[in-house]
Symmetry: C3
Subunit: 348 residues, 3 copies
Amino acid sequence: MKFSDLIAQLEPAFIQASSLTAHPDCNPELVGVASVEVGQSERLSYIENAKFAAFVATTGAGALVLPDDPALSQQASDRGIAWLTTPNPKLLYAMVIEQFYQPYRPQPQIHPTAVIDPTVQLGSEVAIGAHVVIEAGCIIGDRVCIFPNVTIYPGVEIGADTVLHANCVIEEQTKIGQRCVIHSGAVIGGEGFGFVPHPPQGWYKLLQGGKVVLEDEVEVGCNSTIDRPPSETTYIGTGTKIDNLVQIAHGCQVGQHTVMSSQVGLSGRVKVGNWVLLAGQVGIANQVEIGDGAIATAQSGLHKDVAPKAVVSGTPAIDNKLWLKVSAAYNRLPELLQTVRRLKRQQK
Amino acid sequence: MKFSDLIAQLEPAFIQASSLTAHPDCNPELVGVASVEVGQSERLSYIENAKFAAFVATTGAGALVLPDDPALSQQASDRGIAWLTTPNPKLLYAMVIEQFYQPYRPQPQIHPTAVIDPTVQLGSEVAIGAHVVIEAGCIIGDRVCIFPNVTIYPGVEIGADTVLHANCVIEEQTKIGQRCVIHSGAVIGGEGFGFVPHPPQGWYKLLQGGKVVLEDEVEVGCNSTIDRPPSETTYIGTGTKIDNLVQIAHGCQVGQHTVMSSQVGLSGRVKVGNWVLLAGQVGIANQVEIGDGAIATAQSGLHKDVAPKAVVSGTPAIDNKLWLKVSAAYNRLPELLQTVRRLKRQQK
Amino acid sequence: MKFSDLIAQLEPAFIQASSLTAHPDCNPELVGVASVEVGQSERLSYIENAKFAAFVATTGAGALVLPDDPALSQQASDRGIAWLTTPNPKLLYAMVIEQFYQPYRPQPQIHPTAVIDPTVQLGSEVAIGAHVVIEAGCIIGDRVCIFPNVTIYPGVEIGADTVLHANCVIEEQTKIGQRCVIHSGAVIGGEGFGFVPHPPQGWYKLLQGGKVVLEDEVEVGCNSTIDRPPSETTYIGTGTKIDNLVQIAHGCQVGQHTVMSSQVGLSGRVKVGNWVLLAGQVGIANQVEIGDGAIATAQSGLHKDVAPKAVVSGTPAIDNKLWLKVSAAYNRLPELLQTVRRLKRQQK
């Protein structure tokens, strides 16, 4: 695809299209994208911000998406690299990728080996792969795409344009919105982990009769698990994105546009606000509440409520700035112990 | 269901039934349960203990399970709420849920798409879902329920009344007891992670010819993994409950009625006693032994043996009370460093 | 099998066979192996090194693999235990296991319920289990063994002698080498977790058009996940072994013969060298580089590059020796605070 044709494709799609400026002369033929470090003449790369600006001088990329900085675009021009500038290079880069690559989606058809209960309501143009099982009473929206070996328990609802990747399981009492993506091996609606101590016999099972609701545009990563509560609803708000191997226990309430990185674990009845960022391996204790826009850095352990927009780190989690100081001081503990011992001796 | 009918259903089942007292007059019609914060007039809620007592004054619940406290039952009566009192409200609540909700179980039948080796011994009234695969020589007990897309390797034994949820995998040399529940996507009996360093060629594989045994009433959460050892047995005792995404490596010995929360990881040949509690994301190093009744709080890392009934926290794990003090002191480290620096200066 | 026959089987296979010495007289009949603690008369056990030497005096084993130490072999002889000595007892033990146990592998055949696109290229002697799905354009090497309920997306390549255990998923743009083992429930080639913040609408999806390449002899544990990047390749070098429930995000580059224990998590674009050891639950932040031969102990959090052969611990990770000192000092923090308070008072 010619660089000029790419720009023509992008402009109407791009929200901030008015601020898009392109190199007037260079017009390379492009076959895809590449990271700027790799940089190939027939591929487009991007410079996210000033931190990566030095790559403009060295990259082999044939075209670049640049932040709005005349010096950078001049430098690119001087090197014969076609460029586009925008206030949000990564967003534009995401839009460019779509012009070259679309993930595999099967044709709308129902594979003859799929086992679909006669009471299931199927929307139009659904794609249902081989060996899929859909139990009684499910409602499957228009253009839903279900990859092979998926199992759906009775009474589940799946909204239009949602994709269920291979071998995932959607259990009873679950409702998934529109344009969601459930990745391979994820389990949505599994029985929450509820037992009452009843010694000496053992643990008495607390049945999980509640619901699981995922609103629209939610993504759930490979092999992640979202559990069904004893009553009410485990709830994931619109646009929230969940990475691989994440655990969301029974009765959690997660807001909109929140992001959870891989291996995050939410205990029972945790509340997470909107636009929260939970980095990898973060754990949150039972019933803790995390305010809107808060950030928890990797591996932190949240035992207490976190205020909106707070940034926290460590276990138990504290303010990130304090944690950075404490972590620095931490390494000097053995030295500190020695100093104090000497001071003590001298004072006697 | 009328409140009075509910009580009639419960009394014989409840172990401590003799101590059950119910409101003599109110008799609402109930359709289910709800958490006490939600509290709906046609639903029953429970007050676990004094900590939640304030909810009696505000809940909209039509009926309540209360701890034995005449003041609380009087308060409920005054608000026209039907009530039951018991020394163990959460246990009674679990028994109430069962009257309103039972998890989905398929009818006993063998789906025609299931692939079952002719040498498999099937008990009576088994339910085997679509696309299940059971290899040669397996023994499947009475009333076992196997959801769709489950794979069972050769020679596996599954005890009576056990449930295998969708898409789980039971590998060779595994024996699962009676009334167990293996949740969706779990893998039991996978090959332990054993390799001998053999540079420069690489790692030499140590084959895993041992067994995996789960005793009766064990639960294994969604996408959890329990590995097969090179010799002898990876063993999970009766009544032990394992949450989602837990790893139990080759050769671990876990006692009875132990509870492991989500994302716990046990390394090779760990021994865990009876009635142990491992909170979320706890890790235990190779061959460490955890005594009966011990508790490890969330994210702790256990590198050394833990005494019976000990409560430990942190990495490397220490006594929980000490850890609480240390954690409080930890945040004051930068301040401490400054103070010591000043003291040092002054002393010179 | 007679002990003498076992030795005859082993000798040509064993790289350091020349240094193998066996007990001249004892020749028990053996049925398998056992750990040395268990030690049974018809089973062979091994003593890894001096640390376990005391077991020679107590074990009930009928035969032992011993390190080269005449005192130990004499002691074994005195107790009537057959023995073999070698500089690397664990390696020889691994070779002994193979004589008694081989993991289950199905016969080469294609199950009639497998759904294989007509464009798939199948090698000779492949074993393809029930309900396996292989989409268009895949290339499956000779003697590949695919267990039941596996799903393979279009265009995937699987090298000769590779084993895919049950219910795993291999997504598009993935190439797996020869003699690899992908364990049950693993997902290779799932879509990387890439989103661009685009408030107030939400997160804009960054499509993942890159590749996933696993070189030869790679193992991936049960329910582990390895993601596809937006461009270029997520790469796992020859002989690298990955345990259960591990996350490898988009664009990671992992070297040869590296070992990752269970529940390790690598963020996007992490680089890991050759012969690296990552213990359980280690987390590595975006774009961090880990040098050849480095070791990260359990639960450590690596936020910065790690030098070759470094041993690091803690979060944020520091030199292991310093961490051991700091951890010891850590427990004395409350005491330290008190001392400093007293010193301060006295100085006034």
